[in-house]
Amino acid sequence: MPDDEEIIDTTNRGEPVVLTPDSRLALIYEKIARRLEGESVPFTVLGTGGFFSRLFGQRKAG
């Protein structure tokens, strides 16, 4: 799991991030749940984005 401000926000609001539509963190938790169910699911590669996306704060992970 990446250290992401979405976790801080949703935790403080009492809303599990996994229920947030289109959240990349929700996707990662869903994969964890599927692995617990015995499914073989590839791991998400956590990128740090390119130099300029870091510079301007548009962190993207795929």
């Binding site: 801080i8 926000d9 935790t11 403080n12 510079l55």
Partner: protein, 280 residues
């Protein structure tokens, strides 16, 4: 940084007892150990004699954060159970001549610690050191009780999270009547506070109502220094290090300024960090 030759802390002339301060939080993972290491290093840098006691028996970490893991020969239970003398168990810091570490046992459990023996140990450390800083384990069970037993002051570390505030509030209640109970708010992200996605320092302290000792930003430098075993408090170029040194000054009573809340780095500072290569 060069290796400072460890000086034996010779028996000093009778002096006032040192201060025993426990660093606690209730919740785990909020930065107690990092806070202990940095405040200890900052206090010792001013020439005060400081011993850091890792009371997290079974899950020792303070030695790693201090970069002293290779020097640990004996631990706190060896002293409590008379397998080693205090002098044998105290580990000299590599950088600051007046700083010592007493490591926790790794292969024992928290309930193995005799509370009365721990109290006596802290008492004897207070005869020898100006400051005894005790790194408390998470939780409020036996390990917590053993960590707080000899301390008459406490620093409560809290992150701006609702769950951390609730646990800290519980701990403040359990600490009862101490000479002083302070608050350090750790891992503040100013940008998130501004967006209303993170509790502000005022929000946290509206619940806890403690004298504010300092505010530490959530910045990568803390993680890097923790992994390297080099407390940021010893890094003169680090703003977070300066924040820790200010905390030490407030504890010692030499700094009467109010804690500052970290601000977001400006675009220019961020550019500088990229091109200057400094870990910020």
């Amino acid at each position: 940084m060069h290796d400072v030759q460890a000086e034996p802390l010779a028996a000093p002339p009778p002096k006032p007892r040192g201060r025993a301060i426990v660093i606690t939080s209730g919740k785990g993972g909020v930065g107690k150990t990092t806070t202990t290491a940095n405040i200890g290093a900052a206090l010792a840098r001013t020439g005060a004699t400081v011993v850091l006691v890792d009371a997290d028996v079974g899950l020792r970490n303070l030695d790693i954060v201090m970069g002293l893991e290779a020097r640990v020969r004996y631990h706190v239970l060896d002293v409590l159970e008379s397998r080693a003398t205090l002098d044998e168990a105290l580990v000299a810091d590599k950088r600051v001549a007046t700083l010592r570490l007493l490591a926790a046992a790794q292969t024992r459990e928290k309930d193995d610690v005799d509370t009365q023996a721990m109290h006596e140990l802290v008492k004897s450390l207070r005869e020898r050191f100006d400051y005894v800083l005790i790194d408390c384990p998470a939780g409020i069970e036996m390990g917590f009780q053993n960590a707080i037993v000899g301390a008459d002051e406490a620093i409560v570390v809290c992150t701006p999270e609702v769950s951390a505030v609730r646990d800290a509030d519980r701990v403040v209640g359990l600490l009862g009547n101490r000479e002083k109970v302070w608050l350090v708010v750790n891992r503040v992200r100013p940008a998130l506070v501004r967006k209303g996605k993170m509790l502000s320092v005022d929000d946290v302290n509206a619940i806890l109502r403690l004298p504010l000792l300092g505010v530490i930003a959530d910045e990568p430098g803390v993680i890097v220094s923790t992994n390297k075993g080099e407390p940021l408090a010893l890094d003169d170029s680090s703003p977070t290090g300066a924040a820790y040194r200010a905390i030490a000054g407030r504890i010692a009573g030499t700094d009467t300024s109010a804690p500052t809340i970290p601000t977001e780095p400006t675009a220019m500072q961020r550019l500088g960090a990229f091109f200057g290569g400094s870990a910020r």
